[in-house]
């Protein structure tokens, strides 16, 4: 199951303290920028969870 982004915690990309590490670490292209916001492309997510630990806002998680 793909990851879940908490948009409230995530905020605008320009405000990201990690300079969008999530997009940078995801080599599957499952996380992209669209109109200044982070967008998930669920079909690309391979469930590796690497983005989860890279988010300084802890905005990415797995629905359990």
């Amino acid at each position: 199951m793909p990851v879940v982004i908490d948009m409230e915690k995530c905020g605008k990309i320009k405000d990201c303290p990690g300079e969008v590490l999530c997009i940078k670490v995801c080599e599957q292209g499952a996380l992209i920028e669209e109109d200044g916001e982070l967008v998930l492309v669920p079909e690309n997510c391979d469930d590796c969870d690497i983005c989860i630990q890279s988010c300084p806002n802890q905005a990415i998680s797995k629905k359990s």
């Binding site: 990690g18 940078k24 670490v25 969870d49 690497i50 630990q53």
Partner: protein, 338 residues
């Protein structure tokens, strides 16, 4: 309290300082695991390992650090330097000592440089002096300028690049043989269409006994820099003459959780963080080559799914005199085996 970057320093009856050495840290998290005051925190390992962000793997909380020095003693990479009255505890006999080491036996080493090439931290330098060619092969070579048609076949064929032909002036072409380069293989003689080359190899005619064995020796030096060596074992494994012995910091094994579904190429966090080049992705799954693993645990910390378990059975750290310190050090062995 003086604060400089990732350095903590205080003066009381003793002057104590802790200095984080970024260049030595591999992000294994041993220090964060054993710090009694939780003053050390790991940063985002994978982005740091991939160079996506310029950060230290470990952050020292200056308010929480009590300058006990435990982290410095437990770090197998000497990435934490703890000093008492300006002297590193590395040289203080009251503090623990790592038994890990790597050594090249100069008597056995053939200076092939295989270890130098394999070392993941570029800690090995091998310098070697090869025998002089002129002392190993000798002979006679001469090209008869009157017979030579300057076709250039010998120049092209010569494996030692000893023959040079100059045809700038077509009226007076020149051909020369560099006898320092010539190995008397006689290819020029065999390839010459007009038999202008006269050559003989002395070794072939009289046998190899003319060579002074001392002249044929390869000499050199091999050196492992303790500062950068992480005792991973690559040099030991790759050495063709078993000249290297490596004692690793920990003994034990590394295993993958049964329910763990490794994402392989999608993630490869473990491959990126491993300081030993011990991990590769094989058929879509992470595979650890235990010959090169030092059980530092960086991969287990970096794995986003926490699917790797480091089972340390022994820590090669001696002279832990304090009981409370021993208890903390044992955590590295015990917690890991849970």
């Amino acid at each position: 309290m003086a604060v400089v970057e990732n350095t903590v320093e205080r003066k009381g009856s003793q002057k104590r300082s802790l200095n984080y050495k970024k260049e030595k840290c591999v992000g294994c998290g041993i220090c964060t695991d054993i710090c009694p005051t939780e003053a050390l925190k790991l940063g985002p390992l994978v982005p740091i390992a991939r160079g996506l962000i310029d950060m230290d793997y470990v952050k020292v909380d200056k308010e929480k650090c009590v300058l006990c020095g435990l982290c410095a003693a437990a770090c197998p990479f000497e990435a934490m330097e703890f000093k008492i009255d300006d002297e590193s505890i590395k040289y203080n006999e009251a503090y623990p000592k790592w038994e890990h080491k790597a050594n090249i036996d100069e008597e056995t080493c053939i200076y092939c440089k295989a270890c130098e090439t394999a070392c993941p931290t570029d800690a090995i330098t091998v310098s070697r002096k090869l025998p002089e060619r002129t002392k190993l092969v000798s002979g006679e070579i001469d090209i008869d300028k009157d017979t030579c048609i300057y076709c250039g076949i010998c120049e092209e064929m010569c494996p030692a690049e000893a023959i040079t032909m100059k045809k700038e002036n077509p009226e007076e072409p020149e051909i020369t043989v560099d006898e320092d380069k010539c190995v008397y293989c006689l290819i020029c003689k065999r390839s010459c269409p007009v038999k202008a080359t006269k050559a003989a190899c002395r070794s072939c005619s009289y046998g190899v006994y003319e060579i002074n064995p001392e002249d044929a020796k390869i000499t050199g030096n091999s050196f492992i820099d303790e500062e950068t060596c992480i005792n991973c074992g690559w040099c030991q494994e790759i050495c063709p003459v078993d000249a290297v012995t490596v004692t690793k910091p920990f003994e034990g094994e590394i295993i993958f959780k049964e329910e763990f579904e490794c994402k392989g190429e999608s993630c490869h966090a473990c491959v990126d963080i491993c300081p030993c080049n011990a991990i590769s992705i094989v058929e879509g799954k992470s595979v650890v080559d235990e010959r090169f693993c030092i059980l530092c645990g960086a991969c287990a910390k970096a794995c986003p799914q926490k699917g790797i378990i480091i089972k340390r059975e022994k820590i090669n750290l001696e002279n832990v005199r304090s009981k409370s310190w021993q208890k903390q050090m044992d955590k590295l062995v015990e917690t890991a085996s849970k």
